[in-house]
Symmetry: C2
Subunit: 348 residues, 2 copies
DNA sequence: GGCGTCTGTGAAAGCGCTCTCACGGCGCAC
DNA sequence: GTGCGCCGTGAGAGCGCTTTCACAGACGCC
């Protein structure tokens, strides 16, 4: 217990040194675990630290070490829409766990406008953080380049736009989507539509690419009327489903690029009197909790989000230890979780 | 644009002063918006800052000002279970928006064990942050007291356990639950069960209290068999619903202390052949997205979570400006959102 | 017994910033 | 013309820490 708790102004290295009867340097060595300290000096210092309730001043330390022991996580989500699905919470958990096991702190930046994004960039490059994690970037956001260009280690979550020269971790969206659509083909579906994600986001692009791949592989001609864009939200999914239904009434399967959109589609299909999975099979993406809640339960592509967070931290820490190393890429596999919404039809 | 971008080591105040041909003090004044600076000196300095791409070193500044311009948000969630519902994302958004408009940064601490919680406490009291926001505290977590006792401004989200002497913001859980149950009574239900939240959390306690209040007010005798504890998760809700159904087969309404638990209950009721709302009405709490996804859509108690975040920040900023002021409490009203799951029965 | 080698310790120099204080120059009142 | 006050500016002291460097003493070697 500290003798001085609540005194407003903590003890300093100097005071500890005086109490312990040694120099500041020695106290500093003890605090930082430097082995070159005599046994009894060490004991004295430890006792003094205990007595005074000494805690090192992080700003002073940071000033000289040029390390802040914290990293920034940037989530630019203007609409805040991705907060509706459990992607961020899970990612946050993975990142948090990985960081805390390395004694790093997490500074969360959620710029809601381009003005705030500029501020976030300034923050990151001012030396507040030792490195940065960027996720959910839209279009070709210049953030990764500009931050990395300033010499700050950066790892991006999700494929960064264009040929950015930064490390990133991504889920294999193409393969995930392909597997989902192949599954639909295998269960006998032929008129397979998709509710694609926003095409200014790599995840949206890749999942659409996987959809096309699978159809091509199955020898099914691509039909533009079977593609409808959504924005990853339930409502967007519902609207997209309505468009699909109007354009191709004979549709017998829908692959939605997110569970939320799939849930919206299910509602619309239901309202239109289509049985799921008898008339139309539905597959989502994310395997979020929503997939278990829908009626019928939703077949979905599971992403290892926790692992994505952990990998991002691992890559960043590597860069921290070895600045200027070449950018690295990690792609994580997905897994199709089969539920009732895509069960095969027993046409006999 | 900076001339020196990517040089690894930013320019210092001193360099700017030299380039501008003034003293460090003058540069500091310009940077901090001090009005006592001559017009042309100011211009020179601004030009030099631009040329060098100067950004103040936060550690150095923090060392002398004793402010870090950042606040800590502690979410101790061992199981990570509350990450399943959208409570945290929304709270985060409210907090984030409120902080960024005040130019404060958010440091997120998610201690997953008591060891990590101790580390979080050390972090907060070491001076890394100017203040702390604590949410989702269990039992009687000593964190608020110990942090506040160290002189760090603290605001708790949700009613803190016992008579803690700290400011807090809470949703009116008692009133919300009472309104929900009164609604069930009004629509003709008489055997009203509840799936309560964890009783070591104030939110769980208060919602149960509101349930009891409402029954008492309606002159309906309390029946312990109609109370079943859940843990706020869907699965917990399902199990609790099974217990209720077994203990009181004639149950005609269930008030669940969270939407997730309500969703679990709906599944179980369905599986048991009960019609919703014909046989059993269901009301949830949170008005999360899940409430719209369930079939039928779920009547639920909406909490102003964004506002809760904003209020927490407001209270904290007040404390920052006026240390040692008396703890304050803000209670936010809830609102019942009626959907199909609790529609009145047309018994005629 | 002289010499080189290690080992624990302290003195002191910063890290980059803010802020007090002192000072020179100027306008104003008398 | 003298004195006063004000205003813009600079010198310099510190904030609390790490780290280099020098040094005293203990130790082993030939």
């Amino acid at each position: 217990m500290s003798v001085e708790s609540g005194n407003g102004r903590g003890a300093t290295l100097d005071q500890v040194a005086r109490v312990a009867g040694v120099s500041r340097a020695t106290v500093s060595r003890v605090v930082n675990g430097n082995p070159k300290v005599g046994a009894d000096a060490k004991r004295q210092v430890e006792r003094a630290i205990e007595r005074l309730g000494y805690v090192p001043n992080p700003a002073a330390r940071s000033l000289v070490t040029r390390r802040s022991q914290s990293i920034g996580l940037v989530i630019p989500e203007p609409a805040g829409r991705l907060f509706e699905d459990p992607f961020f919470p899970r990612l946050l958990r993975g990142i948090g766990a990985a960081l805390s096991s390395r004694d790093l702190q997490l500074v969360l930046l959620m710029p809601q406008s381009s003005g705030e994004e500029a501020r976030a960039e300034r923050y990151l490059t001012a030396g507040h953080v030792d490195g940065a994690l960027l996720v959910s970037l839209h279009g070709n956001d210049p953030l990764p380049q500009s931050v990395a260009g300033r010499g700050i280690p950066v790892v991006v979550g999700g494929r960064p736009p264009r040929g950015s020269q930064v490390s990133y971790v991504d889920v294999d969206n193409v393969q995930g989507a392909r597997t989902a659509v192949e599954h639909l083909v295998e269960t006998g579906r032929r008129t397979i539509g998709t509710i694609a994600g926003p095409q200014d986001m790599p995840a949206g692009q890749d999942r659409l690419a996987g959809y096309k791949d699978a159809l091509e592989g199955a020898g099914i001609a691509h039909d533009a009327k079977l593609v409808s864009d959504g924005d990853f939200t339930q409502q967007g999914g519902a609207e997209a489903a309505r468009r699909l239904l109007a354009a191709r009434p004979t549709i017998d399967a829908i692959f939605a690029a997110s569970d939320s959109m799939a849930a919206g589609a299910i509602q619309v299909l239901r309202a239109a009197g289509r049985g799921i999975p008898e008339d139309v099979a539905v597959v989502g993406f994310d395997d979020s909790q929503a997939a278990e809640t829908t009626d019928p339960p939703l077949t979905s592509v599971r992403q290892p989000i926790d692992e994505m967070g952990r990998e991002m931290v691992r890559l960043l820490v590597e860069q921290l230890a070895e600045p200027g190393s070449v950018p690295r890429t990690v792609i994580l596999a997905t897994q199709l979780v089969r539920r009732r919404s895509s069960e095969g039809v027993q046409r006999r």
